[in-house]
C-alpha cells in the first residue's frame, strides 16, 4: 500500500507538467462572448412609443369599422309566449313536470337592414356553466371517437349519466355524461315575411369544427344497441339523430359535436344553423324585413336563472361583431402617443443630466459621483 502511494506521487509529478490546470482562454469560459447590450435610451424608447401609437390607432379604427359593419340581431326568447298553451313557455315548464312535452313559441324578428353575405344563426345561453369542472369532464372521448367499449369501461366521470338501471338490467348511456345529456334541444324554423312568405333554408352541416367532425368524433362499427341506451333527457337514441343523413348521424351529428365543445364562459353562443343562400331570395344574405321564428321550446333554463336567445349575424374576415379589440387598440395607441410626448418632455428636461454624468466620468474614477442615495434610490 505504502509503495503504491509513492508510485502515485511520482506518476503525478510526471504527468503534472504537461497537464496544466490552467483554465482555457475561450470567450465562453471567460464570459466574454460577444453580446448585444441594449440600453433603454431616449433614442430607442421614444421612437418605439410613437411607432406603436402610430401603428395601433389606424389598426384600431380598422378593427372597429370592421366590427361595426357586421349586422347582428339578438332576440331573447326565454320568456316567449307560448302559442300552444297559456302563459310563457318558461312557466309551462316550471309549473309542472312537463318533460317530454313541447311548448311552441312563434316570434317575429325584424331586420332593420339587409344582412348581406353569409348569415349564421346561433343560440345563446347565459348563466349556463358549461365550463364547470364536473361538467367539462363528464364525457367519454373514447366513446365519442367511436371506439367500441363496454359500458363498464366508460369514464367514471360520466356519473350519474354513465349507466342507467331499469328493472334490474343495467344499460350504458350513449353518449354518456352530463354534457351529452344536456344537449340543447330547442329547434327553430325561420320564415321570411315577404311577398310571398318564404321559409329560410337552414343548413345543419358545416357548423362544427372540421377536426372535430373528422377526427375527434366517429361512429362505432357496432352500436351495441342491446347494452346502450339514450341519455335520460334525450328522446331518441344517438344512432337515430339523423336518419336521413348518415354522415350527420350518431356521434358525427354536428349539433351534438357543437354542443360537446364546451364553452369557455358561462355566457356563450353556439352555431345553430347556416343560412342556405342558394335560393334567389337569400342569395345575398337576408333582406331586411320581418321574419317569423317558430321555436320548439324544450330546454329549461329559468330554473338556474339562465336565458336563451336566438342570434342572426353576418361575419367579417375577423369573425363576429365585437368592438372590443378596435377600442382597445385605439386606447393603447393613444396612450403610447401620450406617453411618448410626456417622455419627450422629461427627456429634454432630465436627459442632459445623464450625458453630463457620463462625460464627467471620463475623468478620474475617484471623482465618481458615488452618492449612496443615488445608488440605493433605484431599487
Amino acid at each position: 500500500m505504502a509503495t503504491n502511494g509513492n508510485g502515485d506521487i511520482s506518476q503525478d509529478s510526471v504527468e503534472e507538467k504537461p497537464k496544466s490546470r490552467k483554465p482555457k482562454d475561450t470567450k465562453f469560459k471567460q464570459q466574454k462572448l460577444p453580446a448585444w447590450q441594449p440600453i433603454l435610451t431616449a433614442n430607442t424608447v421614444l421612437p418605439a412609443l410613437f411607432a406603436i401609437g402610430i401603428a395601433f390607432i389606424p389598426l384600431g379604427v380598422a378593427l372597429l369599422v370592421t366590427s361595426n359593419n357586421i349586422k347582428e340581431l339578438v332576440y331573447d326568447y326565454t320568456h316567449c309566449n307560448s302559442s300552444t298553451t297559456s302563459g310563457t313557455c318558461a312557466e309551462f315548464f316550471q309549473n309542472t313536470s312537463q318533460t317530454g312535452e313541447t311548448c311552441t313559441c312563434v316570434v317575429t324578428l325584424t331586420l332593420d337592414e339587409d344582412f348581406t353575405g353569409s348569415v349564421y344563426m346561433y343560440y345563446g345561453l347565459t348563466n349556463f356553466y358549461q365550463n364547470h369542472r364536473r361538467y367539462v369532464r363528464s364525457r367519454d372521448d373514447n366513446q365519442l371517437h367511436g371506439d367500441v367499449i363496454s359500458y363498464s369501461d366508460l369514464n367514471d366521470d360520466c356519473d350519474p349519466y354513465k349507466t342507467v338501471s331499469d328493472n334490474g338490467t343495467t344499460m350504458g348511456i350513449a353518449p354518456c355524461g352530463a354534457i351529452a345529456n344536456s344537449l340543447f334541444n330547442d329547434t327553430f324554423a325561420l320564415v321570411y315575411q315577404g311577398s310571398p312568405n318564404e321559409a329560410v333554408g337552414l343548413l345543419n352541416t358545416g357548423i362544427a369544427w372540421v377536426s372535430d367532425k373528422n377526427v375527434k368524433f366517429g361512429n362505432p362499427s357496432d352500436w351495441q344497441k342491446s347494452t346502450y341506451t339514450k341519455p335520460p333527457n334525450w328522446k331518441i337514441p344517438v344512432w337515430n339523430l339523423s336518419l336521413t343523413e348518415e354522415s350527420n348521424n350518431g356521434y358525427k351529428n354536428e349539433d351534438l359535436i357543437v354542443w360537446m365543445r364546451t364553452s369557455a364562459l358561462p355566457t356563450f353562443r353556439k352555431l345553430y344553423r347556416r343560412i342556405n343562400h342558394n335560393g334567389t331570395t337569400f342569395s345575398n344574405g337576408l333582406p331586411k324585413g320581418d321574419y317569423q321564428v317558430t321555436i320548439s321550446y324544450h330546454y329549461p333554463v329559468t330554473a338556474f336563472e339562465g336565458t336563451k336567445s336566438i342570434i342572426l349575424t353576418t361575419t367579417s374576415w375577423l369573425g363576429g361583431k365585437n368592438p372590443f379589440l378596435g377600442i382597445a387598440y385605439l386606447v393603447v395607441g393613444s396612450l403610447c402617443i401620450v406617453l411618448g410626448v410626456v417622455f419627450l418632455v422629461i427627456h429634454l428636461k432630465w436627459g442632459k443630466r445623464v450625458t453630463n454624468f457620463v462625460t464627467s466620468m471620463e475623468g478620474d474614477p475617484s471623482d465618481l459621483p458615488l452618492g449612496r442615495d443615488r445608488v440605493l434610490s433605484n431599487s
Binding site: R274, N322, Y329
Partner: protein
C-alpha cells in the same frame, strides 16, 4: 468506522495510554487517526441526504402536495363504499371517500406526475450535487488520511498510512514532516532531545518553537529495540482545544513524570531543523487539538435561500387565502346557482341534498382542489433552476483565467456550489495575516548607514525609480555565499562595501554578529540559516550577501567571513531580546578589543545613544520615517567600544544578577541597561514583510466597495499594525488606531468606552446632525433604514487594534455589544494574538448581531474555525497545509483574487440570482393567477383554464430556458468596470436587489399581468366566431389563446430583463416562443389524438388570436419599458450610468486602459516615526546558545549535567520575561502564551500591569493607549518633524 447508531461514549475524564500496548489502549475506543469531513457514506447517503433535503421547506411543501394528489389514487383500489352516511361527511372516512371521488377528476386534469417528476428531478439534481461535493470531501480526506508516516510496529519501523496510526503508537518523524497526530516527544536527533517545530498551521506564527523530551525518554534515542520495550503509561487530560496547554503525567517504573506542553507536538506542526524525532501518539484524529479547534461543519445556506424559505411560507399563506376566497365563493355559487343548475349537472351522490349543507361540503372540497391547482405559484422548477444557475456560476469561477495563478498552477475553485450569490453581498471580511496578506517572506529592503539611505533604485541620472520586473538587480555573483533569491536594487551599497567604507562595514558586521541565528551546513556545503524569526534571518542573509557571512557559532565564539577572510570573535555575552527591552546586543571580543553590537527598536536605541550622534540621529530618523511610511519594519543598529576594565566590572554585576534566584530577569535587565548606554549609531535597516501581490490595491478597492476588513492574526501587535499600514488597511489619513490591550474585564470595558466616546465626539464634531443621537439605537436595531443610514454615516476614519487577551474579555456577553459598536464604527479592525477559536468567535459575534454577510479568508489550520463559521469561507490554496482549503467554500491562490471573486463573480452572481428570482416569481404568479380569475367564471369549480400538459410544461420547456440563460450569462457591466467602480458592489451589501419589497413588486406585477392576460382575451373572445361563423369561444380555444399570449409575453418580459444578449440568449428567447408554437401545432395535430386535437390550427388560424396577442403583449411590455426608461433617465443607478458609459466607450472605440490607477502612496505621516520594528519573535534563543545546549559539538561535553529547559522554553513562548523561576516540571497556569479563554487571569497578566513604566512605547495603563512616539519633538498635529528635517537638509 463506528456506525452512527452506536451508543454515545461517556465523555472522557482522563485518558490512559500504555505505550506500545495496542490491546490495552483499544479498550478505551480512542478516536483513530482518521479525519472525516465528509457527510455521508454509501449507506447513509440516501436517508441522510433526503432528510436534509426535506428540511428545505419547499421540498416538504411539494411532498405534502404530492400526498394530497395521491390520496385518491391510493384508495381507488378499494371498491367505493356503497353508502356513506351523509350526515357524517365531515367525519374522517367521509372526507376520505369524498376526496376519493372528488379529487379523482383533479387528478385527471392535473396528474400527480406533474408534481412527482419535477420533485424527483429536484431531489436527484440536489442529491447528485451533494454527492459530488461529498466525493470531493472524501477525496481530500483520503488524501490526508493516506499520508504516510513511519510507525514502530513490533520493533520494526514500518510505513503506515495516517489513518492506521492509533493512540499509543510510536511514530518516527523526519525533518520537515507534518506531525500526524498529537505526540509526546520521546527522543530526537538533537542534543538534549530538543526539537524544533513550526506552528504556522496552528497559530499563524512562523517562528520556530522548541520542544524537549523528558530526560528518561531521551535515552531511547534511535534504538528501535529499546523503543519497542518502552512500556510507560501515560495519563493525560481529555481531548480539548487548548493549543498551548497540556496536562498529563507519565508513569515509568514506579516513577511519575509530569508532562506539559513542552513535551507535546501537535498535529499540523512541521518538524524543522531536527533530523528525526520519536513520539508517542496521545490524541489522534478528531481528538487532536487541531481538529478540536476547527469548529463544527455547518450546513451553509445563503441568505437568499433563507429568505426564500420565508417567502415560501408567505406564498403558502397567500395561496391559502386565495383558496379560502374560492371556497367561500364556491359555497355561495353552489347555493345560488349550482343547486339549481342540477337540472343539467347534478351534485355527486355523496353531497347532501339540502342546499346549505351540500354547498358547504362542495366548497370545503374545492378548497383542496384549488390548493392543487394554484400550487404552481411555487414551482418546483424554481429550485432546479436555482441549483443549475449556481452550478454554472461555480464553473465560471473555476474557469476564470484571471483568478488562475500560474506560478503554482492553481485556478480558483468553488468548492461548494450553493453560496455564489452571497459573494455579492459581503460586508465584512475577516482575514488572516500570515500567508494570506503576506507571503511570509522577509526581505532586506533598505538601510540607512551613517546618514545615507540605500536601497532605492536610481537610474543613471540619480532619479529614483519604481521597482518593477525590469529594474536591474544588484549582481552578487562575485560572492560565493550569495543567495540566488536575494534581491536588492541599489548598486551603490555594494559599491561602498567594496570600497571598504568603515561605517558600512560596521553596519554589516553588526548584522552578522548580533543575532541568535543558527547556521546549518548541508552535505553539499551550502550554508543555511535557521532563524527564530524571519526578520532575523533576513538581516543575517543580507549581511551574507554583502560579503559578511555568518559561518558558524559555538557557545563562546562566532565565526564570520568578511570578503573571504575569516574572523573569529569571542562571544562574551548575549544580552537577549525580550518584549520590554525591544533590543538585543552581543558583546564580542576580537584582537583584545571588546565591542558591543546592538540592534533594536528605533526609539529604544535613540534613547541610549551617545550625545555625539545627535546629527546622525536626526538624519537617520528622517530615513526611518521614510522607511516606516513605505510600510517597512525597521531596526536601528548601534555599537559601542568597551574597555577591558569596564567589561570586567560589568561582568561581575552580570554574574551576580544571573545567579540570583528572585527577580532574576529583572535584575538582568537592569544590568543590561547599564552597559547599553552611550551607543554609537551605525544605521538602520528596513525589512519588508513581503505582502502578496496586489494586496494593498485589493484592500483599497474592497474598502471602496464599502466592505469592512478585519484582520485577525496570531501575530504580535506591532507586526500586525505594521502590516496593517503596509497593506493600506490603516492609512495615515486615519486617526491613530485605538489599542485595546488591557487584561481585565473592567479595564477592557474602560478602554472600549473611552474609545467609543472619542469616536462619537469626533463624529459629532464633523457632522453635527442626527448621527450621534442615533448611535445608540443603531445597535439595538432601530428601523432597518435608519441602521443602514447611520452605519454608513458613522463609518469613519478610525481603526481599532485589540489584543487576544483583551478580546477574550471583549467577547464576553457583557462587553460584546460595546466592542461591536466600537469595531463597527472603525474603518479597520485588527485583532492580534488571537487563537483560532477566538477568530471564530469574532466572526460569530458579527454574524449574530449584524444582519450582514461575513467572509473569512485564511490559509492555515488556525483559520479553519473562522472559515467554517463565516457565511463564506475562503481558503488560500497552493500552500502545503490543506486544512484551510478543505474547510473552505472557495479556494483562491492569491489574496488579490478576492477582488475579482467578490466584485466581479460575486456581484454578477448576486445580480443574476436576483433577476432570476424576481422574474421567476413574476412569471409564475402571472401564470397561476389566471386560474384564479377564471374561477369567477366557472363557478369556482377548480376547472383549469389551461391544458394540463401546458401546466406541466410551462415551467420546464416554455419559459425556463431564457431565464436560465439570463441567470447564467447576464452581466450588466463588464468585469473591468465592475472592478473599476467598486461602488457597484454596494447594492449587494444593502441587499436591495431582492428583498421583500422587490418580491412584493414581482407578485403585484404578476397579478396585474395575469389580470391583463385573462381579461383582454376575455373581451376579445367572449362571443368569438370565425369568418365561417363557427364559434371559437370554447374552453380549449380560449385556454390556448391565453396560454400562447402568456408564453410570448412572459418571454418578452424576460428579454427585457436581459442586459447581455449572447447568441444563447437569442436562441433561447426566440427559440422558446417558436418551440411553443411548433409543439402546440404538433401536439394538437391529428397525428396524436388528444382532447385538444385541432385546437391549435383553429386558434392560430384565427386572425383575432394574433390581434389579441399583439395587444396583450403590448399592454404588458410597454409600461415596463417605459418605467425602466423613466428610471434610467431620471434616476439612474450607478450601474445604469456605467453601462451607458461603457457603451459610449464602445461606440467611440477608444481603447483606454481600464486598469485601475490608484493614487500611489501619498501619505503624510502625523507621527514622526511609526514603530515598525522588526522583531517578530518573542524572547530570544540567547540563553540556549550561550549554554550551548542546542549545539551538537558542545552537546556531548555538557550532556552529563542535567539541564532543564523548562524555564528557557517558557520564556521563549512568553513575550514577557518571567518574574520568578517556576518550579520544575509542574504545569503552571499561564505557561507559554496565556490562554485568553481561561477564566482567571494568568500570572503574567497581573505581572504585565505592574510594569508599565518599563515599556516605553506601549503604555498599557492608558485607558486608550496610542503609541505616542517619545521622540517626537513637539506634540504637534502637523508633520513637523519631517518638515524640520527637510529644511535642515
Amino acid at each position: 468506522m463506528k456506525p452512527c447508531w452506536a451508543k454515545e461514549k461517556p465523555p472522557e475524564i482522563e485518558r490512559r495510554i500504555k505505550v506500545n500496548d495496542g490491546a490495552y489502549n483499544a479498550q478505551f475506543e480512542y478516536a483513530q487517526n482518521i479525519i472525516t469531513t465528509s457527510k455521508y457514506n454509501v449507506f447513509t447517503f440516501l436517508p441522510k441526504n433526503l432528510f436534509e433535503q426535506f428540511q428545505r421547506i419547499a421540498n416538504a411543501y411539494f411532498l405534502g402536495l404530492l400526498i394530497l394528489q395521491l390520496i385518491p389514487a391510493v384508495s381507488s383500489l378499494n371498491p367505493v363504499a356503497t353508502i356513506i352516511p351523509l350526515v357524517f361527511v365531515l367525519s374522517i372516512s367521509g372526507i376520505k371517500e369524498a376526496i376519493d371521488d372528488f379529487l379523482m377528476p383533479v387528478i385527471s386534469s392535473l396528474t400527480p406526475l406533474t408534481t412527482i417528476i419535477p420533485l424527483v428531478a429536484v431531489l436527484l439534481v440536489t442529491a447528485a450535487k451533494d454527492a459530488v461535493d461529498d466525493i470531493q470531501r472524501h477525496r481530500s480526506d483520503a488524501q490526508v488520511n493516506n499520508r504516510t508516516s513511519m510507525v514502530l510496529r513490533n520493533g520494526e519501523i514500518v510505513e503506515e498510512r495516517w489513518h492506521k496510526v492509533s493512540v499509543g503508537d510510536i511514530i518516527r518523524l523526519k525533518n520537515n514532516d507534518f506531525v500526524a497526530a498529537d505526540l509526546m516527544v520521546l527522543s530526537t536527533s538533537e542534543p538534549h532531545s530538543l526539537c524544533y517545530i513550526e506552528t504556522a498551521e496552528l497559530d499563524g506564527e512562523t517562528n520556530l518553537k522548541v520542544r524537549q523530551a523528558l530526560e528518561v525518554t531521551s535515552d531511547l534515542s534511535n534504538d528501535h529495540a529499546k523503543m519497542a520495550a518502552f512500556d510507560a503509561e501515560i495519563i493525560s487530560e481529555p481531548p480539548n482545544n487548548r493549543l498551548s496547554k497540556f496536562d498529563g503525567k507519565m508513569q515509568l517504573k514506579e516513577q511519575t513524570y509530569s508532562l506539559d506542553n513542552e513535551k507535546i507536538l501537535l498535529r499540523g506542526c512541521v518538524l524543522r531543523n531536527t533530523e528525526w524525532c520519536f513520539g508517542v501518539v496521545i490524541f489522534a484524529g478528531r481528538d487532536t487539538k487541531l481538529m478540536m479547534n476547527s469548529g463544527k461543519t455547518k450546513f451553509k445556506r445563503t441568505s437568499i435561500d433563507r429568505f426564500m424559505n420565508k417567502l415560501i411560507i408567505g406564498i403558502f399563506m397567500f395561496l391559502v387565502t386565495m383558496c379560502l376566497i374560492c371556497t367561500v365563493a364556491c359555497g355561495v355559487w353552489e347555493a345560488v346557482t349550482g343547486h339549481d343548475f342540477q337540472v343539467f349537472l347534478p351534485w355527486e351522490y355523496f353531497i347532501p341534498e339540502a342546499k346549505g349543507s351540500g354547498s358547504t361540503t362542495i366548497a370545503l372540497l374545492v378548497f383542496l382542489s384549488y390548493i392543487i391547482i394554484l400550487n404552481t405559484v411555487v414551482p418546483i422548477s424554481l429550485y432546479v433552476s436555482v441549483e443549475i444557475i449556481r452550478l454554472a456560476h461555480s464553473l465560471w469561477i473555476n474557469w476564470d483565467m484571471k483568478m488562475y495563478y500560474d506560478k503554482k498552477d492553481t485556478p480558483a475553485k468553488a468548492r461548494t456550489t450553493t453560496l455564489n450569490e452571497e459573494l455579492g453581498q459581503i460586508e465584512y471580511i475577516f482575514s488572516d495575516k500570515t500567508g494570506t496578506l503576506t507571503q511570509n517572506i522577509m526581505s532586506f529592503n533598505k538601510c540607512s548607514i551613517n546618514g545615507k539611505s540605500y536601497g532605492d533604485p536610481v537610474d543613471r541620472e540619480g532619479n529614483p525609480q519604481d521597482v518593477n520586473e525590469n529594474t536591474p538587480k544588484v549582481d552578487f555573483s562575485g560572492n560565493p555565499y550569495a543567495e540566488k533569491n536575494f534581491e536588492f536594487y541599489d548598486q551603490e551599497l555594494l559599491n561602498v562595501v567594496e570600497q571598504g567604507e568603515q561605517q558600512v562595514h560596521a553596519f554589516f558586521r553588526t548584522l552578522a554578529l548580533c543575532h541568535t541565528v543558527m547556521p546549518e551546513v548541508h552535505e553539499d556545503g551550502t550554508l543555511e540559516y535557521q532563524a527564530q524569526s524571519p526578520d532575523e534571518g533576513a538581516l543575517v542573509s543580507a549581511a551574507r550577501n554583502f560579503g559578511f557571512v555568518f559561518k558558524s557559532r559555538t557557545p563562546s565564539t562566532i565565526t564570520i567571513e568578511v570578503n573571504g577572510a575569516t574572523e573569529v570573535y569571542d562571544l562574551l555575552c548575549i544580552l537577549d531580546f525580550n518584549n520590554v527591552r525591544k533590543r538585543m546586543s552581543v558583546i564580542v571580543k576580537k584582537d583584545n578589543k571588546i565591542k558591543l553590537y546592538c540592534k533594536g527598536a528605533d526609539n529604544i536605541i535613540f534613547e541610549r545613544l551617545a550625545p555625539a550622534c545627535a546629527d546622525l540621529k536626526e538624519l537617520t530618523m528622517h530615513h526611518l520615517n521614510d522607511f516606516a511610511q513605505s510600510g517597512l519594519r525597521t531596526l536601528c543598529l548601534a555599537t559601542k567600544d568597551i574597555s577591558e576594565m569596564e567589561y570586567a566590572k560589568w561582568k561581575i554585576k552580570h554574574h551576580a544578577a544571573s545567579t540570583t534566584i528572585e527577580n532574576r530577569d529583572d535584575r538582568l535587565d537592569e544590568v543590561y541597561e547599564e552597559i547599553e548606554t552611550d551607543l554609537e549609531l551605525v544605521g538602520a535597516s528596513a525589512i519588508e514583510d513581503k505582502l502578496q501581490d496586489g494586496v494593498p490595491e485589493t484592500i483599497a478597492n474592497l474598502a471602496l466597495a464599502d466592505i469592512k476588513i478585519w484582520v485577525l492574526t496570531g501575530d504580535k501587535q506591532e507586526t500586525a499594525i505594521n502590516i496593517g499600514f503596509s497593506c493600506r488597511l490603516l492609512t495615515d489619513e486615519m486617526e491613530e488606531p485605538f489599542i485595546v490591550d488591557a487584561e481585565s474585564l473592567e479595564e477592557v470595558e474602560q478602554q472600549l468606552r473611552t474609545a467609543l466616546t472619542e469616536v462619537k465626539e469626533a463624529k459629532s464634531g464633523s457632522k453635527s446632525d442626527h448621527v450621534i443621537s442615533n448611535g445608540a439605537t443603531t445597535y439595538n436595531g432601530a428601523t432597518a433604514s435608519a441602521t443602514v443610514n447611520t452605519d454608513a454615516e458613522m463609518f469613519g476614519e478610525f481603526a481599532l487594534v485589540i489584543n487576544g487577551h483583551s478580546l477574550a474579555f471583549a467577547l464576553k456577553p457583557e462587553l460584546e455589544g460595546l466592542f461591536l459598536d466600537l469595531a463597527c464604527l472603525c474603518k479597520a479592525v485588527i485583532c492580534c494574538r488571537v487563537t483560532p477559536l477566538q477568530k471564530a468567535l469574532v466572526v460569530d459575534l458579527v454574524k449574530r448581531h449584524k444582519q450582514t454577510i461575513t467572509l473569512a479568508i485564511g490559509d492555515g489550520a488556525n483559520d479553519v474555525s473562522m472559515i467554517k463559521m463565516a457565511h463564506i469561507g475562503i481558503g488560500i490554496s497552493g500552500q502545503e497545509g490543506l486544512q484551510a482549503v478543505l474547510a473552505s467554500d472557495y479556494s483562491i491562490s492569491q489574496f488579490r483574487y478576492l477582488e475579482r471573486l467578490l466584485l466581479v463573480h460575486g456581484r454578477w452572481s448576486y445580480l443574476r440570482m436576483c433577476k432570476f428570482l424576481q422574474y421567476f416569481f413574476y412569471k409564475n404568479f402571472a401564470f397561476t393567477l389566471c386560474h384564479f380569475w377564471f374561477a369567477f367564471f366557472c363557478g369556482f369549480s377548480a376547472q383549469t383554464l389551461f391544458d394540463p400538459y401546458f401546466i406541466s410544461l410551462y415551467n420546464v420547456f416554455y419559459t425556463s430556458l431564457p431565464i436560465l440563460v439570463l441567470g447564467i450569462f447576464d452581466q450588466d457591466v463588464d468585469d473591468a468596470h465592475c472592478v473599476r467602480y467598486p461602488k457597484l458592489y454596494v447594492p449587494g451589501i444593502k441587499d436591495v436587489l431582492f428583498n421583500l419589497r422587490v418580491f412584493t413588486w414581482s407578485v403585484i406585477e404578476g397579478l396585474i399581468s395575469s389580470l391583463i392576460l385573462f381579461f383582454i382575451p376575455y373581451g376579445a373572445f367572449v362571443y368569438s366566431v370565425d369568418s365561417d361563423g363557427i364559434d371559437k369561444a370554447d374552453l380549449q380555444s380560449f385556454g390556448t389563446v391565453v396560454a400562447a399570449t402568456l408564453v410570448v409575453a412572459v418571454n418578452l418580459r424576460c428579454a427585457l430583463d436581459m442586459s447581455y444578449w449572447t447568441g444563447f440568449n437569442h436562441f433561447v428567447v426566440w427559440g422558446s416562443i417558436i418551440y411553443y408554437f411548433c409543439f402546440q401545432l404538433a401536439f394538437y395535430s391529428e397525428a396524436i389524438v388528444y382532447d385538444y386535437v385541432g385546437t391549435s390550427f383553429e386558434v392560430f388560424g384565427n386572425p383575432a388570436t394574433w390581434f389579441t396577442m399583439l395587444l396583450t403583449c403590448t399592454i404588458l411590455v410597454v409600461p415596463m419599458v417605459v418605467w425602466r426608461f423613466y428610471q434610467t433617465s431620471v434616476n439612474p443607478t450607478l450601474s445604469d450610468r456605467v453601462r451607458l458609459r461603457q457603451r459610449m466607450r464602445k461606440s467611440k472605440s477608444r481603447g483606454r486602459d481600464l486598469t485601475v490607477h490608484r493614487q500611489s502612496t501619498f501619505r503624510r505621516s502625523q507621527r514622526s516615526i511609526r514603530s515598525g520594528y522588526a522583531f517578530a519573535h518573542q524572547a530570544g534563543f540567547g540563553e540556549l546558545i550561550t549554554s550551548g545546549l542546542n549545539m551538537k559539538e558542545r552537546a556531548k561535553e555538557i550532556v552529563t549535567t542535567p539541564v532543564r529547559l523548562t524555564k528557557m522554553l517558557r520564556q521563549n513562548a512568553n513575550h514577557v520575561p518571567k518574574k520568578s523561576p517556576t518550579t520544575e516540571g509542574l504545569p503552571v497556569p499561564g505557561t507559554s502564551r496565556s490562554e485568553p479563554g481561561s477564566k482567571q487571569p494568568s500570572p503574567r497578566v497581573s505581572k504585565n500591569l505592574e510594569e508599565p513604566k518599563k515599556s516605553q512605547s506601549t503604555s498599557s495603563v492608558d485607558s486608550v493607549s496610542r503609541p505616542e512616539p517619545s521622540h517626537r519633538p513637539e506634540p504637534s498635529p502637523l508633520p513637523q518633524g519631517k518638515t524640520i528635517f527637510v529644511e535642515r537638509l
